[in-house]
């Protein structure tokens, strides 16, 4: 192998000065067509379609999907999530992690190649680049050419297109947090708030930088997934692999010739698999951490194999065990365990959301003094009942306490009307004769009921008082 660029012969014959940093070499992935390219295209198109389209959906007079941070409410179609529902975010993250383990153990970096936003946006930006600058050869030639008016025009057009798409992306992203139709009207009047402006530009810049300039640098140097993927694979994971037993020794040969007679394998060393690779590796060296599992090399090789009449699959999805001659073994204990936990967690999360009661009662006992003595000598505890109406409609609520002998409930208002999404306070007192108190701290239970009978929840609290008369 040749010494890499950056190696210089030092004054001393024996020592070389080598660079620990090197200029990044731009990768020009060659255009590729095939089954996996089609799969990836549909994946990218649907996911990005969902991303750009969703903020424009309307539901019940408001944006269907809206993360209202100042209002502390997340709206997802008919569901409203309050801060108390943060546990569902935890559940979502755990589900995401378990899915990651499951899919990675199944077939490697399915996320990276087919779903990751970095891949998706880079693909789109590469497509724009190809449309404006031309195919791979043309791009390389243009980059080497001197700066003429023509080069300025072409590069200018490309970057303009990139910037417009980036701004649209940033704008859409902000539209999940500030209602996008408001943003819309704001933009026409050039009157959007300072923070909205900042985030549109921030995410726009991030999109432009990551998809236009950094591209595979994110996957190779910044993303942790690449580094711990090997901990999630086992010998039965489907990985993209070149079959050395079939392909080696490599070499070109006449189309009509019989490779076996020439002592050659199926690989004709056309290097197309290297040219289409977006991260610039040679898959024939084996699976490397830079491989994002996009299967472009499979498509490229299958295409060539078809043209010269050989069987496809010289580079294919296979397992390490299969390459050593054992059968492909997908359903194994690890997959069953992951799948099992996933299903259980998913079902319980969905059920939990479905049976949510759209109201919350917080019982806040006064703590300025342990208890209060009335003028008649009775013991009183004061409570603030904070009622959250999480439903889509206004409700009228009443409060009672669970059967508690000798204890009297006094309410400043017999019932309270609270609008949808609002919070109301009700002042309540519990009163008892100290001779009837059995303990210095008694558990009591408040019941919240809506007058229409739909809502019924309870919350326990404490009553504190001295013993005896």
């Amino acid at each position: 192998m040749e010494p890499r660029p950056g190696r210089v012969q030092a004054a001393n014959d024996k020592d070389l000065e080598q660079a620990l940093y090197e200029k990044r070499l731009k990768i020009y992935p060659r255009e590729v067509h095939g089954l996996f390219a089609k799969l990836r295209l549909s994946g990218v198109a649907s996911l990005m379609g969902i991303f750009y389209f969703t903020p424009w959906l309307w539901w019940d007079g408001r944006q269907a999907v809206l993360f209202d941070l100042p209002g502390r409410k997340f709206y997802i179609f008919g569901l409203t999530f309050w801060p108390q529902d943060l546990i569902y975010l935890s559940a979502l993250l755990i589900l995401a992690a378990l899915s990651l383990f499951f899919f990675t153990a199944l077939a490697g970096r399915l996320w990276c190649g087919y779903a990751c936003p970095q891949t998706a946006w880079t693909e789109v930006f590469l497509w724009i680049e190809r449309k404006i600058e031309g195919n791979r050869m043309r791009q390389m030639k243009l980059d080497k050419a001197p700066w003429t008016a023509r080069k300025f025009a072409i590069k200018g057009a490309k970057h303009t297109a990139w910037v417009l798409l980036s701004l649209w992306t940033g704008y859409t992203f902000v539209g999940y947090f500030t209602p996008i139709r408001e943003l819309d009207q704001g933009i026409l009047a050039l009157n959007i708030g300072p923070w909205e402006t900042f985030w549109v530009l921030f995410y726009g810049f991030a999109t432009y930088g990551n998809a236009g300039w950094l591209r595979e640098q994110v996957c190779i140097y910044m993303c942790p997934y690449a580094r711990f993927q090997s901990a999630m694979f086992d010998k039965d994971t489907l990985i993209i692999s070149y079959d050395p037993a079939r392909g080696d020794p490599r070499g070109s040969r006449k189309r009509s010739a019989d490779p076996k007679k020439l002592g050659l394998g199926d690989c004709i060393d056309c290097t197309l698999c290297v040219q289409v690779c977006p991260t610039g590796i040679d898959i024939r060296n084996g699976l490397q951490y830079q491989c994002i599992g996009c299967a472009a090399c499979i498509d490229a090789c299958d295409d060539v194999m078809e043209r010269i009449g050989y069987d496809p699959g010289l580079i294919r999805y296979t397992t390490e065990n299969a390459l050593e001659g054992q059968p492909i073994h997908i359903i194994r204990p690890r997959m069953l365990v992951y799948a099992g936990i996933l299903v259980v967690l998913l079902v319980s999360t969905l059920v939990s959301i479905a049976v949510r009661v759209p109201a919350k009662l917080d019982v806040i006992r006064d703590r300025n003094a342990l208890y209060r003595e009335t003028d008649e000598g009775l013991i009183e505890n004061v409570y603030t009942l904070r009622i959250l109406n999480k439903d889509n409609q206004t409700h009228v609520y009443g409060v009672t306490i669970k059967e508690q002998p000798d204890m009297e409930l006094l309410l400043d208002k017999p019932e309270i009307t609270i609008e949808s999404g609002a919070v109301g306070d009700l002042s309540a007192r519990l009163r008892v004769d100290p001779v009837d108190l059995k303990s210095r701290s008694t558990e009591v239970e408040f019941h919240l009921n809506s007058k229409d009978g739909e809502i019924s929840i309870s919350e326990s609290a404490r009553f504190v008082g001295p013993l005896g008369g």
């Binding site: 024996k14 070389l16 940093y21 090197e22 990044r24 140097y221 300025n368 003094a369 004061v382």
Partner: protein, 303 residues
């Protein structure tokens, strides 16, 4: 940093920081490459434990650029903002200054609202539901810690919903209580009256509100009462708003109405302290608060 007596800590911070940042420049530039002998191409050249080596996969140039950008940013930041010991930074930023600006901005927004309310008299304001809602929130923030969330008080903290006022329940009197505070002092009479005398006086006091009492004590107690207690509580025991002396003829007792509590009040005295809120809240907010408190003791629905 101005709290320290000597300059030592200032220089303890400045010197290592400046030297450190300046030293990082040559360190980074010097380590852009390394020497390896001819047959060790592809490794970094360093050998650990006799045979442990590391492949050299050169990092892309933008890493180096990021390091340099970080250092330059650090230098610019430390010039503009405080960080190097006592140096205050060219921009003169302080966290108290930032807080003051935020308070100023808030006053611009909320000040006019309270000004508007302050111009209306309390009796009218006490009937305005929206003003009362704001007053209720002010109460919840500042007053419930002593007077309870329902304003009915606790031992030593008056019930604000009843008609029994220590210093008067007219709007101006309520406002004065909140603005300037009140200190209600009941002197301790143990030394003057002795144990017997206190029992007698408390018997008489209890009789004033029509409760059961020991007749002999009442007669003896009245003598002491007329001499000593009437000066503040008036001869008929109805109290004095100017002094904050409670009305002893009703069944409302600030420190407890049991015999034991009354004896304790006379024997050891009491000191009630309502803090002054003038500096803390300002007159406009107190005006609204007074209107809310006034509304609590009024029964508007039955007027």
């Amino acid at each position: 940093m101005a709290d320290f007596v000597s300059d030592f800590w200032h220089w303890f911070i400045v010197i290592p920081t400046v030297i450190g940042i300046l030293a990082l420049f040559p360190l980074i530039f010097a380590n852009r490459g390394s020497k390896v002998s001819g047959d060790q191409v592809d490794t970094t050249g360093h050998v650990w434990d006799d045979d442990l080596e590391e492949y050299n996969n050169p990092l892309p140039g933008w890493w180096l650029n990021l390091f340099i950008i970080t250092l330059v940013f650090g230098i610019v930041y430390l010039i503009l903002y405080p960080g190097l010991g006592r140096f205050e930074g060219i921009l003169g930023w302080t966290s108290t200054g930032q807080y003051d600006k935020q308070v100023e901005a808030a006053e611009k927004i909320y000040g006019p609202i309270y000004e508007k309310y302050a111009a209306i008299d309390i009796k009218t304001l006490a009937k305005d539901p929206e003003a009362l809602r704001t007053g209720e929130r002010l109460f919840a923030n500042y007053c419930t810690v002593c007077h309870g969330s329902d304003a009915r008080g606790a031992r030593g903290y008056p019930n604000l919903r009843d008609q029994d006022w220590l210093y008067g329940g007219e709007p101006d009197q309520i406002k004065a209580s909140i603005m300037n505070g009140r200190i209600g002092v009941m002197p301790a009479w143990e030394a003057v009256l002795g144990a017997e005398g206190i029992l007698d006086v408390s018997g008489y006091v209890v009789s004033l509100s029509g409760r059961d009492h020991e007749p002999g004590a009442v007669a003896r107690g009245k003598v002491h009462f007329d001499t000593i207690c009437a000066a503040c509580h008036q001869a008929d025991g109805t109290g004095n708003h100017a002094l904050g002396a409670p009305n002893l003829t009703d069944r409302i007792w600030l420190y407890g109405g049991s015999g034991k509590s009354i004896i304790e009040s006379i024997k050891q005295g009491r000191t009630g302290n309502m803090p002054a809120h003038k500096e803390f809240l300002g007159e406009d907010r107190i005006h609204l608060l007074a209107a809310y408190i006034y509304s609590l003791s009024q029964d508007f629905e039955n007027e």
